[in-house]
Amino acid sequence: METRVLIAGFGGQGILFFGKYIAYIGMEKEQQVSWLPSYGPEMRGGTAQCSVILSDTAIGSPVIPEADILVAMNLPSFLAFESRVKPGGTMFYDSYLITQAHRRGDLTYRGLPATKMAEENGLKGLTNMVMAGAALSVLPGVDEEVITAAMKKTIPERKKEMFESNMRAVMLGLAYPADGGQ
């Protein structure tokens, strides 16, 4: 079983950190993982994407031509990557920033107003981890123990005061209803 997660957005939105957290989730589940950034000359403001593969067997290519799970953190990413989701796959997007009509009938769309949710809960800047929490809801075998252990590994020792707020953001996204509460 191999799960391919593609995360895309602006540089500075914490795309790579998001990917690293997903990779550690896989490691906590004793899976093989790969984490591949797109790297450009830009650090902030440009496009950023991160390909993470979690697998029960050895990973061949770290490149993701078709994703099982796509997370779009801004409109350009939504438009660019909607076609790169596998039929039957899930597309997560920040519905507070993206009000784009869905163009495919063979995907599950999961919009959540992550930026708004983060701001209202005093977690400004942690939109990425709210989205990460939502994405965790479709990964098999992810329980609270895995979620916590992976976060401990993802947050470097020198920033450990960030642990609690990141955990809150993840739990917020995870708890968001799949049908958007409708």
Binding site: V33, Y39, G60
Partner: protein, 352 residues
């Protein structure tokens, strides 16, 4: 003690060098190898080592020349255009039979090219890079774990044969993270180097200038006797579904990972495809290719270059089978679908 960590390929190389007893690193910034030097700048002071950002790539490789002559384990790293600048130094290191470990995290070229991954420096690496008759030993890892283990191996090989060992990798493997088991203790140590300028009772002179033709010829012949030993003992390859393979895909480094996916898809369609991945690019695993050619109908060389390794494949099998090229260049990696299409094309070749 060992631990499993999630780190970038570039960082794995730096950690491995420290585990191999390297305490002298000289470099100059260039993408996509920057994490390597950055990691060294943090770690070297903690292990009483030297991290020095030189004023240029030329300076850095000549610092390697000096450090190696003094008998210590040393390393420099760069990316394609920076390696071109080091080419003169590589030739001098060879002319003096000095061990060194040089890392090339390849990017698109020629010229300044791009900062995206590439495998277009194959010729440069496997033919030595600089002027004169010489070789460097070239290792091509294809995972972050191998970035670690091959770097440790590189230091031992460099000392054993008193020659430069290059880790030839690319922006993909340098930038990607995978779990790596790293060791917190030193795994291998500097060899005894009685030839070093700091050793011996008399004077040890290290020099590549031989004005008398017969003396220079002898030095070249001695060096090539050494290279012959390397060619006999050190070729390494990895096979995947190779035993019954009728279509053999040749690919190294990052592109070999993608090729593996395409081979799985081809097998799913009933095509007996397999991967022959050179792990050492010089010495090229010629015998493994000659053996594979006994069963294979055709070969496909998958590389992120306009077709460089394909020449070594053709030479290794003495052109007895057709060899197709599957390539992307300019910082683009081939997709499994493109490689699969090449395998299907190769599958049209008649049975022997």
């Amino acid at each position: 003690m060992s631990e499993k960590v999630l780190i970038k390929g570039n960082e794995a190389i730096a950690e491995a060098a420290i585990a191999a007893g390297c305490r002298h690193f000289f470099g100059y910034p260039i993408t996509p190898q920057n994490e390597l030097a950055a990691h060294m700048s943090r770690r070297m002071p903690k292990v009483d080592g030297v991290f020095l950002q030189a004023e240029s790539e030329v300076a850095a490789i000549n610092m390697i020349y000096g450090a190696s002559a003094a008998g210590v384990r040393c390393m420099t790293s760069s990316s394609s255009p920076g390696i071109s600048l080091k080419a003169e130094g590589l030739s001098y290191l060879a002319g003096c039979d000095l061990p060194a470990v040089v890392v090339n995290v390849q990017r698109g070229g020629p010229g300044l090219g791009s900062i995206q991954p590439s495998q277009a420096d194959y010729f440069q690496a496997t033919r030595g890079g600089g002027h004169g008759d010489y070789h460097i030993l070239v290792l091509a890892p294809n995972s972050v774990q191998e970035m670690y283990s091959h770097t440790i191996k590189a230091f031992d090989l460099a000392d054993r044969y008193r020659m430069t060992v290059m880790i030839l990798t690319d922006g993909f493997l340098g930038q990607m993270m995978e779990p790596v088991v790293i060791n917190n203790e030193q795994l291998t140590t500097n060899s005894e180097k009685p030839w070093a300028v700091t050793q011996g009772k008399g004077k040890n002179i290290i020099n590549s200038l031989f004005l008398k033709p017969d003396a220079l010829e002898k030095s070249n012949l001695d060096r090539y006797a050494k290279y012959q030993k390397v060619e006999e003992s050190e070729p390494l390859h990895e096979g995947y579904l190779l035993d019954d393979a009728e279509i053999v895909v040749a690919s190294y480094g990052a592109s070999s990972r993608i090729a593996r996916n395409a081979i799985d898809e081809a097998r799913g369609r009933g095509i007996k495809a397999g991967l022959l991945r050179p792990v050492t690019l010089w010495p090229f695993p010629k015998k493994a290719f000659a053996k594979a050619a006994e069963k294979a109908r055709a070969f496909v060389s998958v590389e992120m270059s306009m077709g460089q390794m394909i020449e070594d494949v053709e030479l290794a099998i003495r052109c007895r089978r057709p060899v197709l090229l599957c390539s992307r260049v300019g910082g683009v990696a081939p997709e499994p679908a493109q490689i699969l299409a090449s395998i299907l094309e190769a599958d049209k070749e008649k049975a022997i």
